[in-house]
């Protein structure tokens, strides 16, 4: 087992590849997403996507913000060798909506908003409110954990280079 600080820097690309693959899956292969969570109605790119390109000592960062923003420039950056560093996602299940940002290098979640829950009215109903909120967080955490497991399974197989990388390249070319 590697030291955590070494592992963080050495493998941050793995989280960025995960987000890049996730963007591809959302656009091209939503059945993988439903396999990870049968309750999923839809998963969409939200209001922010950040791409980063590292080449030797050069570093470029591109941020696209805004509701329904066009992703052509992000796709172009992908074609030029950038990876997705941050992705804002909208998850829907039945009439409920979650929105959050996932960071590639750390897999941290931020700006997470869950469906509204009732405010605790008294100390007696606090436990119920807390458990409901935990259930709502857990739904997303388990979904992401399963997606990451699927990605790692692909990433460690021979098929990653033989099949998946080619499909992602073909997709990025076809979008422009």
């Amino acid at each position: 087992m590697l030291d955590i600080a070494v592992a963080y820097n050495r493998f941050k690309f793995l989280g960025e590849e995960f987000l890049t693959w996730l963007w591809f899956a959302i656009d091209q292969d939503p059945s993988i997403l439903r396999k990870a969570d049968p309750d999923l109605s839809s998963l969409e790119i939200g209001n922010r996507i950040v791409l980063e390109k590292r080449h030797e000592k050069a570093f470029e960062r591109m941020t696209i913000k805004g509701e329904n923003a066009g992703l052509e420039e992000a796709m172009l950056a992908l074609q030029k060798g950038a990876l997705v560093a941050e992705l804002n996602l909208v998850y829907r299940s039945a009439e409920h909506k979650w929105q959050f940002t996932l960071k590639g290098e750390s897999l941290n979640l931020s700006s997470m908003k869950t469906p509204k829950t009732a405010a605790p009215e008294s100390p007696e109903n606090m436990e119920g409110v807390v458990l409901e909120k935990i259930f709502l967080y857990d739904k997303i955490l388990q979904f992401l954990e399963k997606l990451y497991k699927t990605f790692i399974e692909y990433r460690l197989s021979d098929n990653w280079q033989k099949r998946h990388v080619g499909l992602i390249k073909k997709w990025s070319r076809s979008c422009l």
């Binding site: 050495r10 793995l14 989280g15 074609q79 750390s106 931020s110 997470m112 790692i152 460690l156 992602i168």
Partner: protein, 204 residues
């Protein structure tokens, strides 16, 4: 920072190690041992400890007050004294002018200036109250998973250190490598492949 907030940040951890039985009593003892205490010492600028989720200013870990269904819910509290730089500057200038007037000299030496700054800093820290920051925690003991409702590295490190000291358990942050290594049920050959991975290029 709070799990009931309308917008939250989450860092996920895997908990490694085993606790002595009865588990809830062991955890309560760990929480009590490292519960937050007020910063009474004027020379101390920070206090770090556990506090109750529902009563963050009156920590109480008696009974099962931190148990919510299958989860343990409590908070990390960090009380920190901060002196605004402009306030410090103001008092340093006032004190320097006073010393100059007393000595009758036109300037102060570098060491005198440093001493004045240190004295003023100590005096201000002794009078300023500590500001509390509260970060909630959900610990699923059975699944060895812990969620910390904050993302900043320095605060995460405070949590990891205090957790180890309180329970003798290690928190492993779920970053891309550890999430693959621990959470994906990899065989040893796959763990070796993981170690050798390098960045994929989708350029082309």
């Amino acid at each position: 920072m709070g799990l009931l907030s309308s917008s939250v940040s989450i860092t996920r951890y895997q908990v490694q190690g085993k606790l002595e039985k009865p588990i809830l009593e062991t955890i309560a003892a760990g929480l009590k041992k490292k519960a937050i205490s007020d910063v009474d010492d004027p020379t101390v600028d920070k206090a770090v400890g556990w506090t109750s989720f529902e009563k963050p200013y009156q920590p109480d870990f008696d009974g099962s007050s931190f148990v919510y269904g299958n989860y343990l819910v409590f908070s990390l509290r960090i009380d920190r004294k901060t002196v605004p730089p402009k306030l410090l500057q103001k008092h340093v200038v006032i004190e320097s002018d006073k010393r100059l007037a007393e000595s009758g000299r036109p300037y102060l030496s570098r060491s005198e200036k440093e001493r004045i700054r240190d004295q003023v800093t100590d005096r201000l820290y002794a009078t300023v109250p500590a500001t509390p920051n509260i970060y909630d925690i959900i610990w699923n003991y059975e699944d060895c998973i812990l969620c910390f409702f904050f993302n900043l590295k320095a605060t995460n490190e405070e949590l990891e250190t205090l957790f180890l000291r309180s329970f003798d358990l290690t928190l492993i942050r779920m970053i891309p490598y550890t999430a693959a290594h621990y959470a994906s049920d990899l065989k040893s050959t796959e763990k070796d492949i993981l170690l050798e991975l390098s960045r994929t290029s989708f350029a082309g």
